[in-house]
Symmetry: C2
Subunit: 203 residues, 2 copies
């Protein structure tokens, strides 16, 4: 019986997702053939189908993986010693993804797929809700620890932090001169000052 | 010779754009016929063609009008007595547009059209550049008047204010429970605190 090394399997899986994302972003989902993904990943189609059943399954898996990665980070943040610092780390992790060279192309494919495929749209909604709920948990902890303004409604604050993160994606894909991750001191300034209590701002 | 009342002509033109925007947002650009726009605007096709040559011309005109309205507001802001207040007014004016009931539908049509029509994409870029340049002018005046942190790079600050505005659009179209205009105290809090000099924050 052949044994599978889980770490190796996982690395191979992620390798395929990265190669496929680049194909989707540069050629478009419709124009990408599984043969293109195989070529980009440097593997045979038999080997590829061992990991994913179809092109659509690969596209979906890219954003499932994204959701898992974000959820894992927010789970860590929920028990971190410094809740505010963990929240800032999450925002920076998200905004770091704007450095992806094919961002605008991939975002267009995401929008097109969400319009055509209700299951994919539901996955994006689920990811979004998990991000929001994770942020709310961390914001409540930061408020309880006296790190942020206790008068701020955590749902409202979570939404505005997501406005910043999503806005950074939109703006970075519209204007290649704007690199929000290199500007991450500004992201940090916006979030910390937004969340601060008046007393801290006067300190 | 028939005389044209310019104010009446302008009002009629805007009426057509509003009616057409609703058709595009709810039915999609492809599925909207000029007959639908005529019905929504309550006018004959002969009368409609007196104002616009084609469906595409109407779609483009919606965003030309948007650009003109924003540019006019930023021009006023550039000479306003209180530059910071004028900047906040501009941001609120932009975010007020997220109240549009068919926002998500219209945004999808904008993205689809920009992908297919290079002239339309260039118009969006031009509007965007005008907004950014207008904001930079107002930010420089606010800095010169001692209203905001003089150490902030005005280009960077303008970009992050646009991140907030565009992020509010994206988030409002993704989550109907989030109404950034009703939350505009938060928008104001984010912008004023972001722009403030340390000294003002301690005042």
């Amino acid at each position: 019986m052949r044994t599978v090394d889980p770490a190796k399997h996982e690395a191979r899986r992620r390798h395929i997702l990265t190669a496929a994302a680049e194909c989707f972003a540069t050629k478009g989902f419709q124009n990408t053939r599984t043969a293109d993904i195989c070529a980009a990943a440097g593997m045979s189609s038999g080997n590829l189908f061992h990991y994913f059943a179809s092109k659509q399954a690969i596209f979906t898996a890219i954003f499932e993986q994204d959701g898992h990665d974000n959820a894992a980070l927010l789970e860590q943040a929920a028990t971190a010693d410094n809740a505010l610092e963990a929240l800032l780390g999450f925002a920076e992790f998200m905004v770091a993804q704007t450095e992806y060279p094919h961002l605008a192309g991939l975002m267009l494919e995401v929008i097109a797929n969400a319009k055509l495929d209700a299951d994919f749209a539901a996955l994006l909604d689920r990811n979004d809700r998990e991000n929001r709920d994770g942020l709310i948990t961390v914001l409540k902890r930061a408020a309880a620890a006296g790190q942020i303004d206790p008068a701020l409604d955590p749902v409202t604050a979570a939404n505005w932090i997501l406005v910043l993160i999503e806005g950074a994606f939109v703006r970075a894909s519209a204007d290649s001169g704007f690199q929000p991750y290199r500007d991450k001191a500004m992201l940090r300034r916006m979030i910390t000052r937004f969340l601060a209590a008046e007393a801290d701002r006067q300190a």
